[in-house]
């Protein structure tokens, strides 16, 4: 399992590649958390497009990042899920806290809108 990162406007995009199980989850978790801390990211978008295998460890990874981002006042979003990965994530009800988008760009658009909304609201007050 390999993760590559992209950062834009405090938003971290983590693209996973390979097999995500209990063994690889530990390493993935650590790499993502380090990036969040080092670059002071506020929001996280998972890109599952290149994940060839995933078991329920994947749910734990998303859940754990949700808890972390909530503390930082940010959001977690999920994108690029195959129907198979979707089945596993959906089972757990995780989408109610980390919503799903078709691809990274859709997720990015939504989170940027929310950020702007917040800025506007704060500006009005």
């Amino acid at each position: 399992m390999h993760v590559s990162f992209e950062i834009t406007d405090e938003i971290l995009i983590a693209s996973l590649d390979g097999e995500l199980d209990h063994h690889t989850a530990a390493q993935i978790r650590e790499e993502i958390d380090k990036k969040i801390d080092n670059f002071h990211c506020k929001h996280l978008i998972f890109n599952f497009k290149k994940v060839s295998f995933m078991d329920s460890s994947g749910i734990g990874v998303v859940m754990g990042r949700y808890n972390k981002m909530k503390e930082l006042g940010g959001r977690v979003m999920v994108s690029g899920c195959s129907s198979y990965i979707d089945r596993i994530l959906n089972m757990s009800g995780i989408y109610t806290i980390a919503p799903k988008y078709n691809n990274v760009n859709e997720a990015l658009k939504v989170v940027k809108n929310k950020v702007n909304e917040k800025v506007n609201t704060e500006g009005v007050q």
Partner: protein
């Protein structure tokens, strides 16, 4: 080790796998089972479901049964028959499960601090046709999963 209730003689093909309780063996275990089941020409979806269910059962041995102690031994057995039934048994000699009904509930986990979701048994139940869990406290656990593969029509 808990004894299997499956009668070898009524099956067509059989394999047994034993390996050390190391998390790097998770991938090896599910690939082995998938390669064994592949001789029945399953669909890609069926094979993915089986790989995932095996991964759940094996990681439960590593995380829960042996609490990451790498000296434990995990046993995976697999039987197939002419009617395309696949039976998979994953057995450990670990701590055992006190309350099996509770353990099987969605979102129940005894290790939420380690980012376990409590969805392992739910995934196994939803990807396989049947799931049976036997456990004796202090002796170990055996998870048996059954799936009937779809019939392939020859062209």
């Amino acid at each position: 080790m808990l004894q299997s209730k499956v009668d070898d003689k009524s099956f067509d093909n059989k394999m047994k796998l034993k390996f050390l309780n190391k998390s790097q063996n998770e991938g090896f275990a599910r690939i082995s089972v998938a390669a064994f089941v592949a001789t029945l020409d399953p669909t890609l979806e069926e094979l993915t479901e089986i790989r995932t269910a095996v991964s759940e059962a094996v990681s439960n041995c590593i995380i829960h049964a042996y609490k990451e102690d790498e000296k434990g031994i995990i046993q995976v057995e697999c039987w197939t028959d002419e009617d395309r039934n696949v039976i998979i048994s994953v057995t450990d000699e670990g701590v055992g499960i006190e309350n099996i009904e509770k353990a099987k509930e969605p979102l129940f986990t005894s290790k939420s601090d380690e980012e376990r979701s409590g969805m392992g048994f739910t995934v196994m139940e939803s990807f396989m046709d049947r799931l049976e869990v036997e456990s004796v406290k202090g002796e170990g656990t055996r998870v048996t999963m059954i799936k009937k593969l779809d019939i392939v029509y020859e062209l």
